[in-house]
């Protein structure tokens, strides 16, 4: 597989803020049909990495490509569906208008946006609230609207920053099923999370960050073989060992 086949390829990625290394020499690769969980404590560099993967920020050094393209290029960003960590959307719009706006930003025609919106609002369980202004939504509902906007243009790569935040148990189950069906359709999914149980259930591979450095990368199926038993124990052991 050459580098352009990889959904995401980061090589020696670094980002500094005023002399402080937020991300330090991160290298990773994510292939189509793969789900990668990106774990770490607060301030470990997860969101900074995600910003570089989605073209929202530029690395200080190192390279990142998405399907072989630079994420700073709008044509490459057309292949990325991104959901930010905190789901703030325009409060004066309703969910349908929000999706129509983002559909327009993706260059989709009105008819396609309408049919995709209907389908996605149903999928994320917002069909009944589709005409309510977003300012009346709960945190979980906003999170679901965020998932819908990320999936709207049916991108081959999904980058989700803390997607489980605010979701109730039922919504989590539906979200997990949705992610699995997307993986079966060959989508690459990269998400950061603090929810270790959910991550273990969903991911093929995990990467663990500590103080900007990637201290573990490996398949989830190997976790039992690591003598840790589950992701939570692996996470704690990895952070402990990385001291």
């Amino acid at each position: 597989m050459n580098s352009s086949d990889a959904a995401v390829k980061a090589e020696n990625l670094c980002r500094t803020f005023g002399g402080r290394l937020a991300v330090d020499g991160l290298s990773l690769e994510l292939n189509p049909g793969e789900v990668m969980g990106f774990l770490g404590t607060n301030g470990a560099g997860k969101t900074t990495t995600i910003k570089m993967l989605t073209g929202l920020d530029r690395p200080t050094s190192g390279t990142v490509t998405v399907f072989g393209g630079d994420p700073a290029d709008p044509a490459t960003r057309a292949k990325i569906g991104y959901m930010p960590e905190i789901a703030y959307y325009y409060p004066w719009l309703n969910a349908r208008e929000l999706l129509a706006f983002y559909g327009g930003m993706c260059g989709m025609d009105r008819r396609t946006v309408k049919s995709r919106s209907d389908e996605l609002l149903e999928t994320v369980g917002l069909a009944d609230a589709a005409k309510r202004p977003l300012k009346t939504y709960s945190k979980g509902m906003l999170q679901r609207a965020g998932i819908a906007q990320a999936l709207l243009a049916d991108p081959p790569l999904l980058v989700l920053d803390e997607p489980f935040t605010g979701l109730d148990p039922l919504a989590r189950i539906r979200f997990r099923e949705l992610m699995r069906s997307l993986r079966e359709r060959g989508k690459a999914i990269f998400f950061s999370s603090h929810e270790l149980g959910e991550t273990e259930l969903l991911c093929d591979r995990v990467a663990i960050m500590k103080n900007g450095r990637c201290v573990y990368q490996g398949p989830v199926r190997d976790i039992a073989g690591d003598g840790c038993g589950n992701l939570e124990r692996l996470f704690l052991k990895t952070l402990e060992d990385a001291k």
């Binding site: 057309a78 930010p84 703030y88 004066w92 706006f101 327009g104 930003m105 260059g107 025609d109 906007q149």
Partner: protein
């Protein structure tokens, strides 16, 4: 091309909806209606001079309201997006920052122009009810006012990228209202002042947005008729150049802005 048009249309619609779904513009329209309706019915002493005075008051209201709407429309374009972080999903879409700026500017302009059209409809209606007509000067005055609004929205948009909403609206209001009322007196003031003050005033006159160029209130009120087409075209060209310069600076600032 279709891709570009869809993106621009989405941004225009977003800015337009934002302005009209917030209550402050509706409050302004209602206030304008409440102030201009009595003006249309008033015939103080049955004198034409008094009627002109009412026209002057009504036009001043139109200018004040349009200034408020223009600054308000521009100042919301970027600062609130950065503060509320809606900028993240927006900038992650396949669209360049320059296109986002252009689309948002056009949307704010469309909403400010729609408010201006409403204010002039109220003004013209109230004047017609009193039996006042303005002839060819009125379309010219509206066109120049619309050009001023385009400039004011661009200035406020630039401000929304570099300062807080309150600082932006205060500075824009001072710059635009200051030039509107005192702009034409600045050269005399500079000549009278000495040393560094004179240079500062001259610099302010050279680079400031000349709001006074767009003001045709006296011509409308006193029935002096339309202005020379060449002067009219020159003022429109000044507005276009000034607006384009502001938008170019704003595009450069946005391109370098770190999220």
């Amino acid at each position: 091309m279709k891709f570009f048009l869809r993106q621009t249309a989405a941004l225009v619609k977003l800015s337009f909806l934002e302005l009209w779904r917030r209550n402050d513009v509706f409050a302004l329209v209602l206030l304008a209606l409440a102030l201009m309706a009595p003006l249309s019915m008033a015939t103080p002493f049955g004198a034409a001079g008094a009627s002109r005075c009412l026209d002057e008051v009504a036009l001043l209201l139109v200018w004040a309201f349009s200034l408020f709407v223009s600054i308000g429309a521009g100042q919301r374009l970027f600062r609130p997006e950065f503060e509320s972080r809606t900028v993240y999903p927006l900038f992650s879409k396949p669209v360049s920052r320059t296109r986002i700026l252009a689309g948002k500017y056009l949307g704010a302009l469309a909403s400010a122009w729609s408010a201006l059209a409403l204010f002039y409809a109220l003004f013209t209606g109230s004047a017609l009810l009193r039996g006042t007509g303005f002839g060819a000067a009125l379309p010219q005055a509206i066109a120049l006012h619309a050009a001023f609004v385009a400039l004011a929205v661009a200035l406020s948009l630039l401000g929304s990228l570099v300062m807080s909403a309150s600082a932006n609206s205060t500075l824009c209001a001072i710059a635009l209202a200051g030039m509107f009322f005192f702009g034409r007196r600045l050269p005399d003031f500079a000549a009278g002042a000495g040393g560094i003050v004179s240079w500062l005033v001259r610099a302010a006159y050279a680079i400031g947005p000349h709001a006074e160029f767009f003001d045709m209130r006296q011509r409308l009120v006193h029935g002096w008729g339309a202005i020379d087409p060449l002067a009219f075209a020159a003022v429109l060209a000044y507005a276009a150049a000034y607006t384009a310069a502001l938008l170019c600076v704003a595009a450069a600032v946005l391109k370098r802005k770190r999220l």
